[in-house]
């Protein structure tokens, strides 16, 4: 799991360096983490399953063995988290 917060002060981390495994080139800078990477792993898994299920909450409910409104509430929670992170 990609760390997103500083273990010392809990501030949001930035990407400082990216490396090409092929030619060993390193790109340095200060890049923001993608919005989805800021979400907890469970939420990222949920989004992944949601996309795989063609965005069908009914399919998701069936797969997770949860009721439709429970899955819809989980999605709403993720939407709220993304909206908060966007600000």
């Amino acid at each position: 799991m990609l760390p997103t917060n500083c273990p010392s002060c809990q501030a949001q981390l930035k990407v400082k360096c990216l490396k090409c495994e092929n030619c060993q080139t390193e790109v340095s800078g200060s890049y923001d983490l993608p919005l989805l990477a800021l979400l907890p792993e469970s939420d990222q898994q949920f989004i992944l399953r949601f996309v795989i299920n063609s965005g069908s909450l009914k399919e998701m409910a069936s797969e997770l063995k949860l009721s439709y409104p429970t899955v819809r509430n989980m999605l709403n929670d993720i939407i709220n988290k993304i909206k908060t992170d966007e600000k």
């Binding site: 949860l66 009721s67 439709y68 409104p69 429970t70 819809r72 509430n73 709403n76």
Partner: protein
């Protein structure tokens, strides 16, 4: 299943079941409650009420259930609209129907309870404690009421997706309003 998971399922089955499934299951519980209540003279004359009466017909038994259920569903649906948006009516209908399932216990125990003579009760109210089944019915009514109200709260919470103080406040108002409306409807229609 672990006991903790089982307890969670008992007080909030709606994370697993809602919509049409909950409606069908809830109706099965209500129909069985209505039949047993009809034979055992137990009426569900309010959203959170059950009483032992001297005589009740099967038609009256089901009419009481229908009035209290419809009132509960409509009031909770309006409460849901007040605090949330984008939820399905079928979820409110299904989960609220299933939340009345604990009253089946009252119908079963009430079936075996014997209604004491009202003249004797008027003379000496302590006479009701002479009947073991009446005592069991009275004791059982408290956990059944708590269980059913907990289910109704979770039904509104899951179906509407609302949470926090606003949900709690609106739920308390809605449950009191639905109880009062159902009592009035039963008074005027029955």
């Amino acid at each position: 299943m672990k006991s903790k998971d089982f307890f969670r399922l008992i007080v909030n089955p709606f994370t697993r079941i809602a919509g049409w499934q909950a409606l069908v299951l809830g109706l099965v519980f209500l129909v069985v409650s209505g039949i047993i209540g009809g034979f055992g003279n137990v009426v569900f004359d309010g959203v959170i009420d059950s009483h032992l009466v001297k005589q009740v017909t099967m038609l009256q038994s089901f009419s009481y259930i229908a009035i209290s259920l419809l009132t509960l569903v409509l009031v909770m649906w309006m409460a849901g609209l007040f605090i949330a948006k984008g939820f399905r009516f079928i979820d409110i209908l299904g989960t609220m129907t299933l939340s009345k399932a604990p009253f089946l216990l009252m119908a079963i125990v009430g079936y075996f309870a014997k209604m004491p003579d009202m003249n004797e009760v008027m003379k000496n109210p302590m006479v009701v404690f002479n009947s073991m089944s009446m005592v069991v019915l009275m004791i059982l009514s408290i956990p059944v009421l708590v269980w059913s109200i907990t289910l109704m709260y979770n039904a509104l919470k899951i179906s509407s997706g609302a949470s926090g103080g606003k949900l709690t406040t609106v739920f308390i108002i809605a449950i009191l309003a639905s109880e009062a409306i159902s009592k009035l409807m039963i008074y005027f229609l029955m």
